[in-house]
């Protein structure tokens, strides 16, 4: 069944139609929530609340955008509210996270490769959390969720140019935050000079 048809049926109150929509979009919504919370239970709770919210808001969906875009916009707003309620992310002390991921090189070499990758991933996630919200959101949607520029532009209601420049700044900021951790491998360079 086509998505538009499913949406129409769900709007008319069909639980089966809504279930199909949930099945289709749940992995993406969950993954999006997880990227911001880094906690599976919290991400699951958020995903449930997002679908609940979208179900109640279905009568107000007029099909001006794709259902997915509309749902991701609800998701993003809900996640932002959650993060605001939870309180602003504290600045991550770089020494602490670098130690976690990179310091004991000998031990890391001896340790399993998976553990090392996990530690690096954790480091990057914590650094992403320490970015200002507007950069964090855009970086998460593009580089973690892999969303297209157009889609991000619609979800965040930003012009494509703003998405482009904001994402560029977010990536630069993250790389500079990672710089101390890259030092062991030759260090990061501020590419501001010719």
């Amino acid at each position: 069944m086509e998505e538009k048809q499913l949406v129409r049926l769900a709007q008319e109150g069909s639980p089966q139609a809504f279930e199909e929509l949930v099945t289709k979009y749940q992995p993406k919504v969950f993954s999006m929530a997880l990227s911001f919370t880094r906690n599976r239970e919290a991400a699951d709770d958020l995903a449930q609340e997002i679908f609940l919210k979208s179900y109640l808001a279905l009568p107000r969906f007029h099909g001006k955008s794709e259902f997915g875009t509309w749902l991701y916009r609800i998701s993003m707003n809900h996640i932002k509210d959650y993060l605001r309620k939870k309180g602003r992310a504290k600045e991550v002390p770089l020494d602490e996270v670098c130690e976690l991921a990179f310091s004991d090189k000998e031990q890391a070499e001896r340790a399993e490769r998976e553990r090392e990758t996990e530690a690096r991933r954790l480091l990057v996630q914590r650094l992403v959390e320490s970015l200002p919200e507007k950069y964090r959101v855009i970086l998460t949607l593009r580089d973690i969720q892999g969303m297209a520029y157009d889609e991000i532009s619609q979800i965040l209601k930003l012009s494509p140019g703003t998405v482009d420049s904001r994402l560029h700044r977010a990536r630069r900021m993250l790389r500079l935050k990672l710089a101390p951790c890259f030092e062991g491998e030759g260090g990061a360079h501020e590419l501001s000079q010719g």
């Binding site: 997880l34 990227s35 179900y55 010719g194």
Partner: protein
């Protein structure tokens, strides 16, 4: 091409948004610039680590847990609607009561109706009724007048004493 421009192109290249000609220009810059080559490696590592967080398996039985909540919320919706509107209705109702009370308190009291007005209200001709009343009163009045007149005649005239 300077390093700042090269960094912009590096990021566009990571998104697959670079044409062949610009790709060639970037490649030439990277060949001669160790700093940008390093930046490219770091970005590649960074993107790889970011993408690692993408594949997340959701917790099981998502729909089974969601469905009762949906049902519960849907049942609550009319109640919530009433609750929301009743909260707004209470002050409106109180305002109406105050207005009505004020109107009744300050409005001029209805005057006592005259007999003619009462008759008019009863759809009777006030003139004929009044005439009938007058006619009914007239013999009595005449008798009274005669009585007083006869009294006057019997009363002895008092002469003023000198």
């Amino acid at each position: 091409m300077n390093c700042r421009k090269a960094e912009t192109l590096l990021l566009r290249s990571a998104d697959g948004r670079l044409d062949e000609r610009t790709k060639g220009l970037l490649a030439r810059h990277l060949e001669g610039c160790p700093a940008c080559r390093k930046a490219e490696r770091e970005y590649r590592t960074m993107f790889g680590l970011l993408k690692d967080g993408r594949d997340a398996t959701p917790l099981p039985r998502f729909w089974e847990r969601l469905e009762p909540r949906l049902r519960e919320e849907t049942e609550l919706v009319p109640l919530l609607f009433w609750e929301r509107w009743s909260l707004k209705a209470i002050p409106v109702f109180l305002a109406l009561v105050v207005l009505l009370g004020g109107f009744l308190f300050f409005a001029p009291q209805a005057r006592e109706m005259s007999q003619s007005a009462a008759l008019l209200l009863e759809d009777r001709d006030p003139l004929s009724e009044t005439m009938a009343l007058y006619e009914a009163d007239r013999p009595e009045a005449r008798t009274m007048m005669l009585m007083f007149a006869s009294l006057d005649e019997k009363t002895p005239l008092r002469r003023p004493t000198p």
